[in-house]
Symmetry: C2
């Protein structure tokens, strides 16, 4: 039985990836198309179908027991629809129904991409063996997901753990989501870069104004760059502490491009966490880097499929009926 | 079997209450002692033993299948200890072990008082039939608890849902907990009164400077009183929206003395919630007043005992082994 596979789709604003993944988390077959993000919804769906067709052409497709989809959000797992911010042709698009034809009688599980990354970290990464964890992606945006009581906690619509859009500064700057002072508004890569530029940091001769360039400047001691990462770390710490205070997590796992800045981000974040995570039951909270890499979306979609649909992948809870 | 009972203890800074409660949530037997909060730990324990002794003297004690304890926090359900802020004689006090002698072979379940109130609201009150809910007490402090996936979610130490100490203002005023800008620091009764006084509100001839007096002034149109309740509502809204964004709740239930202010609090809170709860999956969130009253602590301790220990109370999940 441990030879059984999961099929996985990872749907983002730039690419649509698919895979067949075994019970160890190894990717056996891959397929990928660019996301035609500016086209109409049917054109985007055609790219998904092409990816699924390529997977289904492989003889090992027959061994796949479930299909997991991790998608850029918002998603609505209860309705089976997706509305990715960067794919305007899909608004409440019935992705689960449209995929069922290819899936046959396999269960189809839809979760947000933050939840998928969390499933990957829980199965294969830094949250392995942890009963209660927050996993985050800090990149162009800030997303996340939760493990509670040893299980993935996607919430009814597959969006739980959306830490990027909790307000940690109720009078703060307006966020594109409509709220104010959201963690993402302070800690995402573009906001780290914007704040450094506003405070006097200047890019080098290559003109690189990404958060990665700010991180290099911070490592070299540029005060505006250091301060911008410190502020991001403070906002992340407040959000992580809020999560721990609300649901009792033991570890926060942080991945994504901005996390690649390393200690420039993690050191002020851990310092700030001591300021915000003060109650006895959250004081032991750890913050660690993510371990899964660029395939986290695919591996996580497979893990979510098995965890939520029931199936043979070792991390899964006891199988439930379809 | 529906005649089986639960025993309950509600331990606060001013009183220690006990009861035998039937499967409908009716209190059949009561016992109570003042909390000797300034005395040593053994003196406080003697008051607990007196309450339990009075319950055990009733012939219906034999029908109690579990003992639930809701205690002022912090608690540590994993260790069976309590450290109530207002009972300095109890620090990591092994309450569960000390109570076992009286409990016999009944399972003993310990939760924080916010979790107990949540269990009561889920069983008998405004969260009944809700799969995902936050229940809060806004009073001298701000506490709470969570229902997730149809079940009470106490967390490993029994403190989950502690919304009073999440920071919604990361640069805000220092909170006695050591953090800054906590919901409680802005929205508790004493902080509502302090802010109104600082802004020019003056009490009437009776000299009453409680939040209830500020609420009366707000209803009469006093601008400082109105503004102080609006600020409290804003902080509560930011905290409730954060909770919904993190764990996908459908309803927030608010009880406690300050909630008794009614629309003076609820109206600005609901307005502010529209500003902070912006994502599609949280936009439908409701805010409603609590329905359980002064016995919520006892009823909730009984409900938590049955829900977490397994037992015959209707709201409980399937029985598990002791």
């Amino acid at each position: 039985m441990h030879n059984d596979l999961a099929a996985a789709l990872d749907i983002g604003g730039t690419k649509i990836a698919g895979a067949l993944i075994d019970a160890r988390g190894d990717i056996l077959v891959r397929a990928q198309r660019p996301t035609p993000a500016r086209e109409d919804g049917e054109t985007v769906m055609a790219a998904v179908s092409a990816v699924l067709g390529e997977l289904a052409a492989d003889p090992r497709w027959e061994r796949a027991t479930a299909l997991g989809i991790g998608s850029a959000g918002p998603v609505d797992a209860s309705a089976g629809t997706v509305s990715p911010v960067n794919v305007p042709g899909w608004r409440d698009f019935p992705l689960v129904d449209r995929v069922r034809a290819a899936a046959g009688d396999r269960p189809v599980v839809l979760v947000g991409d933050g939840v998928a990354m969390t499933a990957a970290e829980h199965w294969q990464g830094a949250a392995r063996g942890r009963a209660n964890a927050l996993c985050m992606v800090v990149s162009t945006g800030v997303g996340g997901g939760l493990v509670l009581g040893g299980r993935l906690h996607p919430g009814p619509t597959g969006n739980a753990g959306h830490i990027g859009h909790i307000s940690v500064d109720l009078d703060g700057d307006p966020c594109p989501c409509g709220s104010r002072g959201c963690v993402e508004r302070i800690a995402s890569g573009p906001n780290i870069a914007r704040r450094a530029l506003d405070s006097g940091w200047r890019p080098g001769p290559d003109g690189d104004t990404t958060a990665a360039a700010v991180a290099r400047a911070a490592r070299a001691g540029d005060p505006a760059a250091v301060a911008s990462f410190a502020r991001a770390g403070q906002a992340l710490a407040a959000g992580i502490a809020a999560t721990a205070t609300l649901v009792e997590i033991e570890v926060a796992v942080i991945g994504g491009g901005v996390a690649g800045a390393g200690e420039v981000l993690f050191a002020p974040l851990r310092r700030a966490l001591r300021d915000y995570a003060t109650l006895s039951f959250v004081a032991g909270l750890e913050v660690v880097p993510a371990q899964t890499g660029t395939d986290a979306g695919l591996v996580g979609a497979a893990a979510a499929a098995q965890a939520l649909a029931g199936g043979p992948v070792p991390a899964a809870p006891p199988a439930s009926s379809r």
